[in-house]
Structure formats: structure tokens, C-alpha cells
Subunit: 345 residues, 2 copies
């Protein structure tokens, strides 16, 4: 298991985004089981300590009817990053693994790719050559794998891929590589009257088909990056055709913009793990009255998952880690704060 791609600046901007997939797998430990546990301890996979206490304290404050920090139910908006916050993002974003697999699956119809970069690099598993193709190469890969089809077709492709693809290290479907403590947190917040949203740099239509089943978050509560679409009536049936043009990058300063566009209210709690989440946490917590909560998941457990932060190519956590100290955002030390990482641990 080595870091797969070394691009000088792997940034969400080059991973554009997308649309579709479908209810997928799999073992999973969904809201129901988490809520049953919540009768006693709503966060059983969290070790006792300052982080867990800060979550419980925040929720108690905003839900205490006559308390000074009470927040009406309709304003209990919580936003969650996805990659690295709810599921794994190493050794590369799962959506990128999807794109590389798609290149291989599509290769028989594109014999010219054998000698054409960046595709040849993908087909040869030549990661150095792929990295050498840079941002331009990555954009080309995303364009051919994510566009030039209808939203329904893309949804099916993603769904089929997720049903069979396995993470190489954990030998599991990706939808099992979601963090059990975060599933409990999502369920706990919803049981406390919160509406939970995903606000991810990943493709909106790459997430929507499975977020309801895996996270309990319906499609209309998923915010993400997107490409442009065109409405067409084909053989009497309306379709949306996916175009190879970026529509919106839901990362960094794009996250508050995406939140405003899709939700129309400021969250009172936000959860992230990288510098891409900095502005979302600022938008949720700064310059606003009342109780606010920000949390950063810090990947510190190389044994059970991965350990990375300031120098990582995916999910770089540097400025936001410093900001957490200044702004009193909670920081999860995964190794210390989480009893288990995955449901199968």
C-alpha cells in the first residue's frame, strides 16, 4: 500500500465533480441500531474525554427548552464534510479510485488510450506518468469518466461500481469504510432534532445514490461539487445530459456558498477534517450569537486507519488545525477518542 498519486497540487478543483449513484450496499450500521444504543449512551464508540463531552454539552445546551442557548428545531442545521470526515479518503479519494477504474473499464472502446496520456498511465498503473500528466491529465480523466452521459446512466455506473469495488487494504466495499463514531454522531444529532447535511468537495451525484442508505441523509440534503447538465427530451423522455464543464466546486470558500445556495441558513454545527472545511467551520461558528459547534477529525491512527495532516496530498489539514485552536473547535484525536473506527473493528 503506497500513496498512489503524487501530484504537486491535488486539489478538489481538479477533481471537479459530478452527479449520480444509487442505494448500494451493505453490512452497514445504520441510524436504527445507533439510535437503539442512544437510549443509554448516544455515542458508544466514542471514548470518554473532552471531545465527547463537548459534543454532549453542545447538544444539551441547544436542546434545553428554557436555557440561554436553546435553538428551535428548524434552525438546528448541522453540516458534514464527507471524504475523511464520514468515510476514508486514503490512499486517494474514493471518487478518484472510481475514475481510474472507469478508465480501465472503458479502455476496450478506446484503443487509442494505449498510447495516449494520461490514459496510458492509468492502464499501465504507471503512477509516476499519471502524476506527470498533472492537473490537466486529471481533468481529462474526470471528464471522460464523469460526463457525456445522462444523469441516470451515471447513477447506474457508480452504483454498479460501488457494488463490486473493494478497498485494497481493508478488502471491503467502500461503503463499509465509514466511521462508526460519526454514524453515531449523525444519528444522535437527528434524534436531537437536527437536520443533517453533507457538504462535500466530492461530486454531488457521486454521493447521492447511497448517502441515504449509509448515512441516513437523503439526496436533497447532499451538497457537493457538480458539472453542468443540459435538459433534453430524447424519444419522448426527458433527460439531463452531463457536460464536461465544471458548474460548482464545493470546497474551501465554496462551502459556505454551497451551504447558502442549498440550505439557505447558517449551520449551527459543522464537522470537517481538512483545510477544505475551514470556511465551512468559520461560516457555522464565527460572528454569530448563541451556541455554535465546530469539529475537526484529525487522522492520528495509522494502525486502524491512517495518520496524516499537514503534508498529506489528500485531506491536507494545516491551516484548519491551527484555526481549531484559535476558534475552540473540537479536534478528534482518532486514536485516542474513538473506541473503534469502523463497524467491523
Amino acid at each position: 500500500m503506497k500513496p498512489i498519486i503524487r501530484l504537486p497540487a491535488i486539489d478538489r478543483r481538479v477533481l471537479l465533480s459530478s452527479l449520480a449513484m444509487l442505494p448500494v450496499l451493505s453490512v452497514s450500521l445504520r441510524s436504527n441500531s445507533a439510535m437503539a444504543q442512544a437510549q443509554s449512551d448516544p455515542l458508544p464508540s466514542w471514548n470518554d474525554g473532552a471531545t465527547k463531552a463537548s459534543i454532549l454539552d453542545f447538544v444539551a445546551r441547544v436542546t434545553t427548552q428554557d436555557g440561554p442557548y436553546f435553538v428551535p428545531v428548524d434552525q438546528r442545521i448541522a453540516t458534514f464534510d464527507n471524504d475523511g470526515t464520514l468515510w476514508i479518503e486514503q490512499p486517494m479519494y474514493i471518487q478518484l479510485a472510481f475514475a481510474l477504474d472507469r478508465v480501465k473499464a472503458m479502455a476496450p472502446m478506446h484503443p487509442e488510450w494505449k498510447t495516449k496520456q494520461p490514459f496510458a498511465a492509468v492502464l499501465d498503473n504507471d503512477l509516476k506518468a499519471l502524476a506527470a500528466s498533472g492537473e490537466k491529465g486529471l481533468v481529462e480523466i474526470i471528464a471522460v469518466t464523469h460526463a457525456d452521459m445522462t444523469t441516470a446512466e451515471f447513477e447506474k455506473i457508480v452504483t454498479d461500481w460501488l457494488a463490486t469495488a473493494r478497498d485494497r487494504r481493508f478488502k471491503r466495499p467502500y461503503t463499509e469504510l465509514v466511521y462508526q463514531p460519526m454514524l453515531e454522531l449523525l444519528a444522535y444529532l437527528r434524534a436531537s432534532g437536527f437536520k443533517t447535511f453533507i457538504v462535500s468537495g466530492g461530486g454531488i451525484e457521486f454521493m447521492r445514490p447511497w448517502t441515504e442508505r449509509i448515512y441516513g441523509i437523503p439526496p436533497e440534503q447532499v451538497v457537493g461539487s457538480s458539472i453542468k447538465t443540459r435538459f433534453e427530451i430524447k424519444d419522448g423522455a426527458p433527460t439531463l445530459f452531463r457536460l464536461p464543464d465544471v458548474n460548482f466546486i464545493d470546497d474551501k470558500a465554496g462551502k459556505p456558498i454551497g451551504i447558502n445556495s442549498h440550505i439557505g441558513r447558517r449551520p449551527i454545527a459543522a464537522f470537517g477534517n481538512s483545510d477544505g472545511d475551514l470556511e465551512m467551520l468559520q461560516w457555522a461558528t464565527l460572528g454569530a450569537s448563541g451556541a455554535r459547534f465546530g469539529l475537526i477529525v484529525h487522522h492520528t491512527d495509522a494502525e486502524r486507519e491512517y495518520a496524516y495532516d499537514r503534508d498529506s496530498h489528500f485531506g491536507k489539514l494545516d491551516v484548519a488545525l491551527d484555526a481549531a485552536a484559535v476558534n475552540k473547535w473540537a479536534v478528534v484525536d482518532m486514536k485516542k477518542d474513538w473506541k473503534r473506527i469502523f463497524a467491523f473493528d
Copy 2:
């Protein structure tokens, strides 16, 4: 009361869009009262007839558990146009009335407007000159009245305006000029497990502050046109600054795109009143299996409201009226189908 503006092509594209306002007024007859009535007749302001029957029949079919047309609750998505479908749009879009009033309110800070078109025309109530300024003039008016401020500032401006502005014919706040039969329909659908969304060519932030109070539709279920925003930290507080650039026009073929972006599922029912709603109704009803429902509100009552369709400058209903016949969409004849138009009738 005369038609105020005569532009050769008043199109949603020129009315760009926007953001904010706030919970506003007023008498109103909200979900609660409508739902109390629903015990007996869920649609008491609708006259018996084919239109009302088609609504009741559709809802019965999709909610009958073991029936052939049953639709699970999470897929019961209904989308509503706003202008001309839920509230009035004559003699001009209410958002345009807002923009013209704003020009007058801002004029003291812009002495140069006295001699500069299109502003002079607005200040002189010279509608001919305003019309002569064409689309370019209208874009200028929208830009100065809707941009160059934070989203919070815009919300306050819209809120304050709605609290005092009165429609000239009805001498009422605009938020009272909502159609009582449609309020009952919204409440009935929600009571039947539907999630109701607004999908309007109007500005998303012009609607969000009052749609929950007036329609029972929260901000995150409002889709509309928008301008671009920029995230900034000002004096330690994060803001979104409204820029004079169009981001998205949620009209015509933009409506299915907006629906896909914000909702991520196809509606099974859609409600509109103009050619701007054609593609939304197609997206909701055509080429899909199961029960689907499309409805067009046809303004036929010059006495109680307005009568207009194929030649109207606002809310032109021409192609979509023909399409309704072909596609078996219900067409509300307001004069015949609605017992009353407004709550105060």
C-alpha cells in the same frame, strides 16, 4: 391600474435573481388551519369537478399501500412554481415591484440617477422610457438593487419592504396575495407524506425569508434563480457578499436542472402556470413509470384576480397550455375551479 411595463420580451432571464428576506406578515391562513379543515374536505376552496377530482385521485393512488401506484414517502416529491402559481404575478412580478421601489428608496444617495436611464424613468414613473431601456435597463436595475451587499443585508431590505409594501389594486401586503386553494393543496400534499418544494424563476433569496411562514416551505426546500456570492471574513465575522453576476436562472430548461441540483430526485408531481414551467412538468411527468401528476394554473378570472395567458408579458402561458392537453396535465380554470382566490375573498 394599468399594465406597468411593456417590454418586448420580459423573460425571467432579465429578472436575474437574488437572495434574502425574512418571516413577514400577516393574516395568513397557514398549514394548521388548512389541515384542520382537511379532516373533512382537504381542499375546501376548490369547487367539485374534474380538476379537484384528479388531485384527490392522484394522492389516493400514490398513498394506497398495496395499490399498483403506491409511492414510498421519501419519493413523494412535489414542486411548485411561485409567481402566478402560489401568489400573484400581475401587473408585474412582485420582485420587480420590489426592485423599482428600491430604486426610489436609494435615489437620494444617487443624485445622478435623476438624469440617467433607466433610473430616471423609474423615478419619474415613466414606464414608456423604462420599457425603452429594454433588457439592459432591467439588468442594471436588478444589479443595483440586488447586489453589492451581504446576504444578511439583502434579507433585511426585502423583509422591511414586504412589511410595508402594498399591492395597489388589492391594498394588501403581497404575502396576503397568495392563492388559498394552493395553500390547501400544499397542506394536503404534506399531510399525505409529500415533501413540497418551490422551484421558481424568482430570486431564491427573495423568497426564502417568508416561504416557511406563508407556505410552510423551509428555506432548504426553495429553489430559485441566484446571483453569485463571495465569501469574506469582515471584522472577524464571515459574510457572503452579493455580486452583480448571474449564477443560475431557474426558469424553463433551468427548472429540471435546478431540481436535480437541489433535490436530486425527480418530482412525481409538479405545479406551474406558465411556459416557464413547461420543462419542470415534463421532467416530473414524462417517460417515467408510476403515477405522475402535472397541473397548470390558468388565470381566467379578471374579476377576482386577472385573466391572461398566451399574450401576457408576465407569466405567458402558451406552449405549456397546449402541452397540458397533449400530456393530460390538469388545468385549473381559476374562475370555475376555485371557490375563492384569496383568504380574504
